[in-house]
Every structure is written in C-alpha cells, then in structure tokens.
Amino acid sequence: MNGALLEIRGLRVTFTGGARPVRAVDGVDLALARGEVVALLGESGSGKTVTLRSVLRLHPEDRTRIEGAIRVDGVDVLSLSGEALSDFRGRVASMIFQEPMLALDPVYTLGDQIVEAILRHEQVTAREARARALRLFEHVRIPSPERRLDSYPHELSGGMRQRAMIALALACNPKLLLADEPTTALDATVQVQILLLLRELQRELGLAMVFVTHDISVAVEVADRIAVMYAGRIVEIGAVRDVIRTPRHPYTAGLLATRAHGGRLSGRRLATIPGSPPDLADLPPGCAFAPRCALAVDACRAAAPEPVEVGAGHTARCIRAERLPTPA
C-alpha cells in the first residue's frame, strides 16, 4: 500500500532454540494506513503475539530467525540496531500488554517511569516531563492523577493499572500502537471502559493500531479491518462488516457459526468445527486448516493457498471460498 504507516511483507518467524524448529509465523503480509485500526484475531498459538513482537524486534536474536520485511513510517525495522532501535521503540511504535506488570516496573512510581521514558527520548526538563506525565494521566482518566503519579503499580486496581500502562505507552507520542490483548484479563464492566478509552485516544491522536485479540466481539468493537490468523498465516482479511457478515474463509465462517449467542432452543446443539488447532512443529502440507475443513479437496492439501480476492479489500486464503454458502 502506498504511504502505509506499517508495512509487513512476507514475515516468517522461526524459533530455533528447541529440539525442532517452530515456524510460528509463516508469510504474513499486512499494511496499515495512518490512523487505521486492524484487529489481529486468532486462537492461542496462531502467531498473533509473535507477529506484534517482531515489529518491535522483541524476540531473542540468537534463537529466532526472522525473514521478510517490516517498515514503520519509512523505517526498515529489521535493519535497526543499538541506539536507533531503542529510539524507535516508544517513539515510533510502542506496545501495551494483557499483563500490565510486563510493561511497568514494580519498584518505581508510575510518575517516575513516565518521566524517565520521556527524558530518554526527548530534550526536555524533568519538570516539563512531569507536567506531561500529569496530562497523560488526565488523558487516560485516572482519578486524582496528581496523587496517582506517586503510586507504585501494585497500589492500583486492574483497570487503573491498564490505564497507567496506556499512558506510559503514549508518553513519547508514537504513531503506531501495538496492543496485545490489553482487555483479555479484565472483567466485562472494566473491559468496555478500556476499549472505549483506546478507541477515543486512537481517534484523537490519529494513531494506527494493531489490536491482537481472540475475541471476535472485541475486534468488531475496535477495528476498521479484521485479519484472521490461523497457524501462523493471515487466512482472511477485510473490513469488519465484510468479514463478520460475509466470511469467505471456512475457518472464519466456522468461528462465527459456533459462537454461543442468545438463548438455547431445547434439544438444539451448537455448530462445531471438528478437531483442534495443529501443532506448529508438525504442520500439514498445504492449507493448515484442511484437516478440519468440510470443504477440503486434494488441492488444499497439496499447496498452501495464496490470498484470493473475494471482495473489495477482502481476501481469503482458500481455493474453495466460492463454495461457502452465503449467510442468510
């Protein structure tokens, strides 16, 4: 895409530390425009986190092979090192996590951590940095922000910690926010609050955001587009409406059909997808979903399908996409 803020091409990530190499990401292509939100949806082990962490180069260098290309705001991420890499992290792209304690240091106050992050990247006085920290806390709507800046992470409730982590991630005005299931561990009533906050900040600051989740309803709530991952590949991508109303990959269609929703008519059972997700160290050749797919034919097992255009800006890696019944 021209003028894309994030562009990932042919990303392949292989972990070589174990007995057998594990290919966690196998040919991911993804481009985000400025200010755009894409949800990366998939079940456990499908490669969502590995994809995100690649963009910040957070994998252990000695045990990871990364192939392909990643560009953020014109920067060739895979060639960065030293100073340039630390400058990139936080200032161009930054990340928030499911578990805020991964981002927050338990032995420093929240205020000190934000001030430190600002001073690391910018030529401002400690005083200016502190004033900005306060504005950030107000922005993420932490009550009594002045007092909370002097709190330690463990003194906050779950939802407040999540807000503090978001403030820290935004401290140096990044253009790209990488969100790895930031609401998964939260209770329903708190999850909505954080989703609304993220959506608002994203719009206001014009952030591009990759939002990783395994929950379709969360993806629908935050994203412009949804990219569905299965066994290390994006198997379907398109505008939220198109993906959830006319899914074209049998896996996506299956996920939508098997959701429990509404009351149960007596005697009725849920539709199911048979089997379980594959072992990445022992992937079948061809389409990784073929062993579970009702539409699979020999050609599916022979070679991994390339993305097929199934609508405007909507592609699915399935050679049988046109056989899927159109939902009512």
């Binding site: 079940e43 456990s44 409730s157 779950g158 939802g159 407040m160 209770d187 329903a188 009533t189 708190v190 999850q191 909505v192 609050q193 989703l195 609304l196 395994h214 379709i216 309803s217 969360v218 629908v220 709530e221 939220v240 409406r241 959830i244 896996y251 299956g254 996920l255 098997t258 959701r259 429990a260 929703h261 509404g262 009351g263 149960r264 059972r269 849920l270 539709a271 199911t272 997808i273 048979p274 379980s276 997700p277 579970r292």
Partner: protein, 334 residues
C-alpha cells in the same frame, strides 16, 4: 416446583488477608458472604460475576475442598456433613470440573488410569473400573483405542477437558459443578465441549452448576442464572427473565457491558465506571453502592435482603424492597 435437590443457606467464607507477628489474622478477605440458593434436579443453574466475586470459592465450599466459615448445605433434605449425610457420601453425588484441564490431572497417570482412579479408591475392582473408564472415554468422544494409554501432556486442551469430564462422571454423580469449563479452551473447540455437556446431561440425567464469566455461554447453557457481586447474590432468576428484564442495577450494567458483534451498534458509553472494590474491607451496606447510579443513603447503611419480585426471581436491592427507605422502592404493603 418440586423440592430442591440441593439447598445452600447462609454460606460464608473468609480468608485471612494479613497477619500480625503472632500469625493472627488482622484483616480478612470476605470471599463469600451469606450466599443462599437452591439447585433443582435436572436443571442448569448458571453463575456469573466478575473475577474475585466468589464463584470458585462457592464451588469449592460445595465440594468441601474448603471449610465454610458458616452456612449449611442440604441434599435431598438431609444436612450435609451431619450423621444423616456424611461428607464422603455426599461427595459421591457431586463432582467438579475445573478451568485448568492440565493442573487437574495427575501427569503420571494415563488417561484411562485417571478416569478409573476415583472408582478404584471407592473399592470398585480394577477390571471393572477400567472397563467403565473405556466406556466413559468413548462417551466423551475419545476413542479408547487411541487415547486410553496417553498421558495428559499428549493431549490438546479440549481433549484434556474431555478426560476431566469423564473422570467427574466415573463415580456416577448426580450433580456436576463446572467451574469455567471452557474458559481455557480455544474458541474453535469451545462449542464441541458445550455440546458434549448438553448431551451428557440428557444421557445421565445430571444437574449442573455452571460457572462462567462468559455471559453468552451462560445464557446458552442455563435454565436459571445467579448473579454474584463481591461475595453476595445480587440477583437470581430464570435465564431469559434475567437477560431481558434484570432488576438489579449490577446485573443490568454487567449485561450492558456485553459487546454487540454489530459494527453499526458499537458501545458508546460504559455502563458503569471503576473496578469492583477490594473484598478486603468491602463497602458497608449494599456492596454495589460505590458504583451504583441509583445509590441513596440507605444503600450505604443497610445491606438489602434478597427479595422475591416474581416467582423464582429474587433481587437484593433496596429499590425492590418495599418500605426500604429508597425513593424508588414500592410502598410497604398494607
């Protein structure tokens, strides 16, 4: 309605939170505080509420995996833990399946051995226990020829949960307590396990206490729903009545927090703000009053008693208690 199979009254559990130099508790976690409910034969009672509200503690108290601080449980009219129904006899009737399918299986036992273990302990001869284990594995969708000899680490999460279900059924219980049984499973596997639970319930005429934080799943599975907030029952009633016409402000806010799955109807405002308070020193009076849009003076002063508002539907909110002093309460009946 017939007499309940299980009656829980005044169930209380506190845990020591901090201790002084001498090991004496100086403050306590009020995990479960005066929980009452009935469970009827053949029904599924769903239990929902946010993390830490006491769902798992309630489950563990039922199974006597924890000692209750106070409260009674009656099974078919007999008091559990008394001479008329000792815990051991009761435990054969009630089994549990946990969220963490791995931690709940002994890693050194094969799948068939795990399923046969309970009956063996209860004196069933080996050959008979094993034959029954194979039958049960087949029943939960694990072909014995392929799976009986496997160890837990050789199974997927969904398969392990099937083993846990088979194991829970091995003693032919009448009640299954399911504590987040599908929460750790992949979405593509969840429906398989939910269907299995529905099938088994019909086949073995079971009664379920189904705990989950997933409001869609609870709605789908349950005949009645119990909503907990900070250790207490906020509301209990028939599923569709709860989902369509809840009367407790917490239930309403919780259900309104469900996401729509419709990009044209996204949530515009959060139904309530803040996090649930800490169960150490919970708020006095109604425990929800710190987050409730309808709270008045009385709410901070007195805890509302569960009050029937329709047959089988009870609400613990001053707005539903006649003459409570809340401005929205109905007038006291003459």
């Amino acid at each position: 309605m017939s007499a309940p199979l299980l009656e829980v009254r005044g169930l209380v559990k506190t845990f020591p939170a901090r201790r002084d130099l001498f090991g004496r508790a100086t403050s306590v976690v009020s995990a479960v505080d005066g929980v009452d409910f009935d469970l009827y034969e053949g029904e599924t009672l769903g239990v929902v509420g946010e993390s830490g509200c006491g769902k798992s503690t309630t489950a563990r108290l039922l199974l006597h995996l924890l000692d209750a601080t106070a409260g009674t449980i009656r099974f078919e009219g007999r008091t559990v833990g008394s001479r008329e129904l000792p815990w051991k006899a009761f435990r054969r009737q009630v089994q549990i399946v946990f969220q963490d399918s791995y931690a709940s299986l002994n890693p050194r036992l094969t799948v068939a051995e795990s399923v046969a273990f309970g009956p063996r302990v209860h004196g069933v001869p080996r050959a008979e226990a094993e034959a029954r284990a194979h039958e049960l594995l087949a029943r939960v969708g694990l072909e014995p020829a392929r799976f009986a000899g496997r160890f837990p680490h050789e199974l997927s999460g969904g398969q392990r949960q099937r083993v846990n279900i088979a194991r829970a059924l091995a003693l032919q219980p009448r009640v299954l307590v399911l504590d987040e049984p599908v929460s750790a499973l992949d979405k593509s596997v969840e429906a398989q396990v939910l269907n299995l639970l529905l099938d088994l319930k019909d086949a073995f005429r079971l009664t379920y206490l189904f705990i989950s934080h997933d409001l869609e799943v609870v709605r789908y599975m349950s005949d009645r729903v119990l909503v907990m907030y900070l250790g207490r029952v906020a509301e209990i009633g028939p599923t569709e009545e709860i989902y369509r016409a809840s009367r407790h402000p917490y239930t309403t806010a919780l259900l309104a927090s469900m996401l729509s799955m419709d990009p044209d109807r996204r949530t515009e405002a959060a139904p309530i703000s803040g996090d649930p308070p800490n169960p150490i020193d919970p708020p006095p009076g109604c425990r929800f009053h710190t987050r409730c849009a309808f709270a008045e003076d009385v709410c901070a002063r007195r805890a509302p008693a569960p009050t029937a508002i329709a047959p089988g539907h009870a609400v613990a909110c001053h707005m539903s208690v006649a003459g409570s002093g809340h401005s929205r309460a109905p007038a006291r009946a003459a």
